[in-house]
Symmetry: C2
Subunit: 400 residues, 2 copies
């Protein structure tokens, strides 16, 4: 009985809230259009800025990812913080950023050092410095973490234990989510911009296609979490996304700027042998076709898998985010982008996709690219000269 009454009360309060929202929109119609204009305008700015950054190159895309990370962390830290509580805990927010910085060093430190070693191989002292850093990377990060850990314990205040432990757990969750995806994204970028751009575009395409298909054909509700999503939108968007994936891969696969890997931190033009994935194969078509022949890149078959994942699994990232927002009764994660809500709201599916892209790339595409150069590099880095001699003799034996 009691629980039933509780339920009814809650439901009615939800209804009231929706009603007031509805009224608000009706009364303030000018405001609605203003909001739409703001949203469109910031979308145009975002896409324009994004294309400009793509043109500038790998290093700048990385910079963009870092900025997004900082904004996301800021939004999410603020979500769980209680201003009242924090007043009694001076410097407690700083601890969050200490852990953020530690995660930053952990995720990017080794990668950055490797790229730097490749960039400045002429300077012996700096090369040795960064090689040395790579060796002790884990130890340095662990020490930084331990400093934060001890700091946390020493600043525990008697009546705030529950709040502080909650914040500690929340910070770790945020950093885990924010950094897992962006570490993978940055790794993708330097393997060739296409491995970052293709999946990221597919998410955007799937989002828009789902909206349009749902708008015109939507009838059957898909999932309770997002009442506006329909099966028709979901399936229509899947078809559009998979087709776009193949076409986009064909287009992007022809640009050296997008397909060549970047092994250092240089920013100039990029030349490389595009590799077998990007060599077009010509197929002749039956005579009744408008075109005589078609050029297919092998990378297009991988693109189909990306398209399928972007349209079938990645939307669950969005469902997760909207479930989370309902659970904690918030509308948006923040207000970083005018008209869009927080930057976290735009990143939900991108995160799921970025991890997938990285793992797919590492499992199926990277093994095609293991080079003799990399192995030589490793040998010269880790073995002493005597060991190198021994290896040379042993390898000779095996090969003969």
């Amino acid at each position: 009985m009691l629980r039933d009454r509780h339920r009814t009360r809650r439901r009615s309060s939800d209804e009231t809230r929706e009603e007031t929202n509805g009224e608000h929109l009706l009364v303030d119609d000018a405001n609605k259009y203003k909001k739409f204009r703001t949203r469109t305008l910031s979308t145009v700015w975002m896409i324009g800025g994004f294309i400009f950054i793509l043109y500038l190159g790998h290093l700048f895309i990385w910079g963009m990812i870092v900025v997004i990370q900082i904004l996301m962390a800021k939004e999410l830290f603020a979500l769980a913080a209680r201003a009242q509580r924090e007043k009694q805990l001076p410097g407690f927010r700083l601890l969050n950023w200490h852990f953020f910085f530690t995660a930053m060093v952990y995720v990017y430190g080794r990668f950055l050092s490797k790229q730097l070693v490749n960039s400045i191989s002429s300077d012996r002292i700096l090369t040795q410095l960064f090689s040395g850093y790579i060796k002790y990377h884990m130890l340095i990060c662990y020490s930084m973490y331990i400093i934060g850990f001890v700091w946390f314990i020493l600043t525990l205040r008697k009546r705030s234990y529950h709040y502080q432990f909650g914040q500690f757990a929340w910070t770790h969750m945020i950093l885990f989510v924010v950094f897992t995806q962006s570490a993978f994204t940055v790794a993708n970028i330097f393997e060739g911009i296409i491995w970052f751009l293709l999946p990221a575009s597919l998410i955007v395409i799937n989002d828009i296609a789902a909206y349009i298909c749902g708008f015109f054909f939507g009838r059957t509700p898909l999932i309770k979490l997002s009442p506006k999503k329909t099966w028709e939108g979901f399936i229509g968007a899947s078809i559009v996304t998979v087709v776009s994936a193949s076409l986009l891969a064909n287009l992007m696969g022809r640009s050296l700027w997008l397909t060549c890997p970047r092994k250092d931190l240089s920013i100039g033009p990029l030349y490389c042998d595009p590799g077998p994935l990007f060599k077009p194969k010509t197929y002749e078509l039956p005579s009744w076709f408008p075109f005589r022949e078609v050029n297919i890149l092998p990378v297009q078959s991988h693109a189909l898998v990306y398209g399928l994942f972007a349209s079938v699994i990645a939307p669950f990232g969005g469902f997760f985010a909207s479930g989370f927002k309902r659970a904690f009764r918030i509308k948006d994660f923040g207000d970083s982008i005018p008209g869009h809500g927080g930057i976290t709201d735009r990143m939900d599916c991108q995160m799921v996709m970025a991890v997938f892209s990285y793992i797919y790339y590492q499992s199926f595409i990277a093994p095609l690219n293991v080079t003799v150069d990399e192995m030589m590099d490793q040998i010269l880095r880790t073995l002493s000269v005597e060991q190198q001699m021994e290896l040379y003799r042993e390898l000779g034996k095996v090969l003969l």
Copy 2:
């Protein structure tokens, strides 16, 4: 005013609780001794069992770690679960174990496969099977994780969002803590039992020494979180632990069973060249000393660092655990060990130590052991025959 009153009320309720506890102990004195006997008995059983498992070898120690992990996860899962809630969510607990199993495959799958490849190198088909697994390890784990992720979203129930998201976050935190440390522990074990046994013993020694030193000399309280701990106990234990570390390393360093690495899953006796860290150097002592000379192993200097960490930093793991217990108003994490509380209560400092040991080992000790064999192995595994030929020629050029 209001806050002050609230404070007073809380303090008085704490006092009441302590009083009733005190009364309880005074009245039920027989019970107190019974508890002490239980605790001593289970300590003896634990230590005996532990030594027996050490004697059995690497594979069995690993098994022990896995059992501890399962017990810890069980305790911690139960801590946050609400029976009332779970009744309305059939199968929700199973999801926790799905994530547990995924973490298990992620952490041990690759390691186990490598060891198996080394164990059964005579069987070509199985070797290829496990090598294939290693290649797709990440993809398999990611797929398992995505299944859990989608499963979670599809089982979200309208009035339980908040509870379910809380559980989801909690599960991730638990798995992260439990698996980080045990993955590192298992890696340590196969590098040589000493790298697991020495740090683990130092934690136990430090615990006991802090208790004894505190009992006899304790006056100055150390930290508010654990009112029974004193500066005298802390400093005394540090001295005892650092000295024990050096002595124990000298003792353990002479046993091949403890120092040799194990590269496969065999369980028989172990022979190896002990390596420079374990070769005793003889130093003569001044004539007025009772001994004429002393044998020092180089590993003892590393042991000093372990001792210092075990006595200065690792105790913060314990402070963290007691802070956590206060924050959530629980006495113990569980009741797996009669008289001791939960197994998690015994593992708090061990976890901090295990991660440190692994990182210290990898940073300072492993580089001494990179072998030509391992490099050969990698070359034969990843390069094609033509690439091996090219590498051979390039290496020849560099060496000449």
